[in-house]
């Protein structure tokens, strides 16, 4: 379920991070960081004993703004050794992992932390290996097995061996399973999940405390055969004031920034409540906000605030309507090596830029543009209309279309529209694409002829030039996700294609080559 979402997510965060490093406010939860390194630092810190003895809970609370109740709950649940299993749940970027790791660091004496982020351990085998290797790092470990167990029974036996070795020295072991929700989409997730959740009963070790961290709600883990419920700590999303506190934390010019936030935060907060996304949007906006100011250290008065507000207002309206901003250079790179970009990310970029960046240039060959357009037409138009649309005159047979629509009853039309909406762009075989491509290139040559009466020879050669390495262009477009190649049709045996671009982008491409696209689009 979450599978198709994940790659998008990573590309989004990496893309937003590429122009300038995220405004690494130290309070923002680890989820918002583009790289896992801060979390790793936290992990190391959590594993190490605290530096000063008896650090009060206030220090912990100061590091977790807006998470007071949750932190206190965590401390209480985790505190003395025997504890029932615990599950932390809440949306993304609510500071679950950070709060847990900080609380574990805060809890004092000898304790060991075994941390497994299931998102980065994509199979049961990897998970088992990671857990056991983390445990066997102890010099007292008796179970230095070289073979990684891949059966659950062997794993539980090995884990119990390793844990009893550690526990017998009076240490408390905290087993943390992060990103528990991803297990559900694993191959054998249905079997692994009850195993992980019942580990407390299976191990029967008092000194081992199990902690699960999940962004899915607890009811996602109910199974057919009854479930063992851990205690829950819920992490709600941050409220406006909490987000403000987090963003304000350690800012060099708090007065200026708070006046900026009072303008910008509320409207953005209506769109998204995630701190990581908000901070990514706010950072370039703040730079805009400061543009009229010579001195960044200035403390703004009322008049200046108003002036700055008027300055930033238009940018704010733009920022509200884009998911992430990419400087021109980066987006070019994205197109060129689009193969590495996640599914649809390039498309979304363009769509996000819609309306504000008419200066956006397509660094794409003319034939690729035509190919893109013909793919778009092939996906949107019904195949039966091809003959009507692309007849020898190159124009559109209005008469025929009108008759057709008048014949069709309203109800039929509605259902067809409905179907088109549901099915999305259709697929088409390569032959149809090439036929349309040939038609529209010849049409555009005709138009060019009408306009500047170029000699016949040149246009002829131009057409053949456009047709030359179409297949090469096609594979490029497929790689950069403008087209997608779907499964081959069982009857015909050839691959079918589908265009992934939306109408806005298609129109923009058409404009760049002066092609009258709207004339060829079948409107229902």
């Amino acid at each position: 379920m979450s599978q198709p979402v994940t790659p998008r997510r990573t590309t989004r965060s990496s893309a937003s991070a590429s122009p300038s490093p995220a405004p690494a406010s130290p309070t923002s939860p680890p989820k918002s960081r583009p790289k896992p390194s801060p979390r790793r630092q936290l992990l190391a810190a959590a594993a190490a004993p605290p530096k000063e003895d008896g650090s009060p809970a206030d220090a912990l609370l100061a590091e977790l703004p807006g998470r007071r109740a949750q932190a206190m709950d965590l401390l209480r649940f985790l505190a003395p050794a025997p504890a029932l299993p615990l599950m932390l749940h809440g949306g993304a970027a609510t500071g679950k992992t950070r709060a847990l790791l900080l609380a574990l660091r805060h809890l004092r004496p000898s304790q060991r932390l075994v941390y497994a982020a299931l998102r980065s351990l994509p199979s049961p085998r990897a998970l088992f290996a990671s857990l056991l290797s983390q445990l066997s790092a102890t010099p007292f470990s008796t179970s230095s097995r070289h073979r990684v167990p891949d059966k659950p029974s062997d794993f539980v036996a090995a884990l119990r061996d390793a844990l009893t070795g550690v526990v017998s020295h009076g240490e408390v072991v905290y087993l943390v399973f992060d990103n528990l929700e991803v297990v559900r989409s694993w191959d054998k997730g249905g079997q692994l999940l009850p195993l992980l959740l019942r580990l407390h009963d299976l191990l029967q070790l008092q000194q081992v405390v199990l902690v699960y961290v999940s962004s899915a709600t607890p009811d996602a883990y109910y199974s057919m055969t009854g479930s063992v419920e851990p205690n829950y700590v819920y992490f709600p999303d941050y409220t406006v004031d909490e987000v403000r506190d987090i963003l304000m934390h350690d800012h060099p010019n708090p007065k200026l920034y708070s006046s900026f936030l009072s303008v910008a935060l509320k409207p953005l907060f209506r769109v998204t409540r995630r701190v990581d996304e908000l901070s990514a949007v706010l950072e370039p906006l703040f730079r805009r906000y400061c543009e009229p100011l010579g001195d960044l250290k200035a403390v703004p008065d009322e008049g200046m605030k108003r002036r700055l507000f008027e300055h930033v207002q238009s940018h704010l309206a733009v920022a509200l309507n884009e998911t992430f901003s990419v400087p021109m250079r980066a987006s070019m790179d994205e197109i060129k090596d689009g193969g590495s970009a996640g599914k649809g990310s390039a498309k979304r970029q363009f769509a996000g830029k819609d309306g504000l960046s008419s200066e956006l240039e397509f660094h794409m060959s003319v034939s690729a543009k035509y190919l893109l357009l013909s793919a778009f037409l092939a996906s949107r138009n019904p195949a039966t209309l091809d003959a009507a649309l692309f007849d020898s005159t190159g124009g559109l047979d209005n008469r025929k279309r009108k008759r057709k629509s008048s014949q069709a009853s309203m109800h039929m039309k509605d259902t067809i529209v409905e179907e088109m909406l549901m099915k999305g762009p259709g697929t088409f075989p390569l032959e149809r694409l090439l036929a349309i491509f040939q038609c529209i290139t010849s049409v555009s040559e005709d138009i060019l002829d009408e306009i500047d009466c170029s000699d016949n020879m040149a246009s002829e050669s131009g057409t053949t030039g456009l047709m030359s390495d179409v297949l090469l262009q096609l594979s490029t477009l497929c790689n950069s996700n403008f087209l997608s190649k779907s499964r081959s049709c069982p009857l015909e045996g050839s691959a079918r294609y589908r265009s992934n671009i939306d109408e806005d982008l298609a129109l923009k491409v058409a404009r760049s080559v002066n092609f009258p696209l709207s004339k060829y689009m079948y409107r229902r």
């Binding site: 993304a92 009963d201 055969t225 205690n231 549901m422």
Partner: protein, 406 residues
């Protein structure tokens, strides 16, 4: 002086908490009450196993009941007792359906050697007057597939020389119906049913668990003062208990409740308030919680989806939702008109939170916009959360209400 006294009191309280936590996490303490009374599953099981050990016969029994009623704890207690009574006449083999069902079946399938080995082993043990006790946890999982393990085990027990007891533990009440005919005929149909305890016995259990033992290292004065509090006879407490057991009356549920509630002790004594707090935190509704966490735009999308469902659309996708959203925005001219991509991000957040999901698993290679989706919340829940949300614009409320009453 006063500060020192307060610190001392705090440390006593935290010590008391540690003691309580130890008691709550220890299964033996939790289920100790079963040991004392005569007519419990504990005594029945003990009698059964003890008699088959002393009379050197074969036996099999199923312990059935919902999770968290103390089945495994009873087995543990019985086995512990018997091991003390007959130190060298018993050997226990524990198998868990979750862990061992595949492996054993796999080895059984490969050859019949294992079966013969098992018969030999049972015979040897029988000759040595040693009883083997098989504890099969998650018994229902052994009943999946060909049931070779169960068959060979129970078949081997048919011979006179062997001496074994099979104890199956399962949370499925119909576990014995899952057995194949050949297995069932070899199974003695002894079943011990575990049911959640009554409110009275649960109350006794809570009193027992939350009492501090006299022999603890805590000061006796404190222990006496602590134990003297008769909070359990309060009307309010009974109300809390009954509302708790209405939802789930298993022992483990009560345990979780106690763990949550005892933690709130600041003064070192139990208070009604802490029980109330614990109850409210146990009765959270995760879906409602995550509905409260939504941004305005995400709420708009949910309302649009709800409108589509009310129009009895059989299936719809993101594009259809956007159409609806646009029409809503055009009709009401709100300030919350956002671009396609921003809405798509909000849509993805909703997918992430699992408030909506894809309606089918087909079309994995299709673009997300076109995959049909469905709501995972009811319109009642949505309406309630809109009512609770203070920042929610009035238009949304109206949009949701209008379609319901028109």
């Amino acid at each position: 002086m006063a500060a020192a006294a307060a610190a001392a009191a705090a440390s006593v309280a935290s010590q008391a908490q540690a003691v309580l936590r130890g008691r709550l996490c220890d299964q033996a303490v939790v289920h100790a009450a079963l040991r004392s009374s005569p007519d419990t599953n504990y005594s029945k099981l003990k009698y059964l196993v003890a008699s088959s050990v002393s009379e050197a016969c074969n036996n099999s029994v199923l312990l059935l009941g919902p999770r968290g009623c103390g089945k495994a704890a009873v087995v543990d207690m019985v086995l512990d007792d018997l091991k003390k009574e007959h130190p060298d006449a018993i050997s226990v083999i524990r198998l868990n359906g979750m862990l061992h069902s595949d492996d054993n079946c796999a080895t059984k399938a490969s050859s019949d050697d294992n079966t013969e080995f098992m018969i030999d082993m049972l015979r040897e043990c029988g000759l040595a007057h040693k009883t083997i006790i098989f504890v099969l946890e998650e018994f229902d999982l052994f009943a999946q597939g060909k049931q070779r393990l169960l068959y060979s085990l129970l078949d081997a027990m048919q011979s006179l020389t062997s001496q074994a007891v099979v104890i199956g533990v399962s949370c499925r009440l119909d576990a014995d119906q899952l057995l194949e005919k050949r297995v069932r005929s070899r199974f003695s149909h002894r079943k011990l049913l575990f049911v959640p305890s009554s409110v009275d016995s649960l109350q006794r259990l809570m009193e027992h668990l939350l009492a501090l033992p006299e022999d603890s290292p805590l000061p006796t004065k404190y222990v006496r003062e602590y134990n003297a509090r008769s909070i359990f006879n309060d009307k309010k407490f009974k109300g809390i208990l009954s509302s708790l057991t209405d939802a789930d009356a298993t022992t483990s549920h009560i345990l979780r409740f106690l763990v949550v509630s005892y933690m709130d002790i600041d003064s070192g004594l139990l208070s009604m308030q802490s029980f109330m707090n614990a109850l409210s935190s146990m009765q959270r509704q995760p879906k409602m919680d995550s509905l409260q966490d939504l941004s305005i735009l995400e709420l708009y999308i949910l309302v649009c989806m709800n409108r589509l469902e009310d129009k009895e659309k059989s299936s719809y996708n993101f594009i259809t939702i956007m159409k609806e959203y646009k029409s809503v925005q055009d009709a009401y001219k709100t300030s919350d008109k956002y671009s396609h991509t921003v809405c798509f991000r909000a849509f993805e957040h909703l997918l992430d939170r699992e408030l909506i999901s894809f309606a089918d698993n087909k079309g994995r290679n299709q673009a997300l916009e076109y995959r049909p989706v469905k709501l995972l919340i009811s319109s009642r829940e949505l309406a309630e959360s809109l009512k609770l949300n203070t920042t929610c614009p009035a238009v949304l409320q109206k949009l949701l209400d209008r379609e319901r009453y028109m």
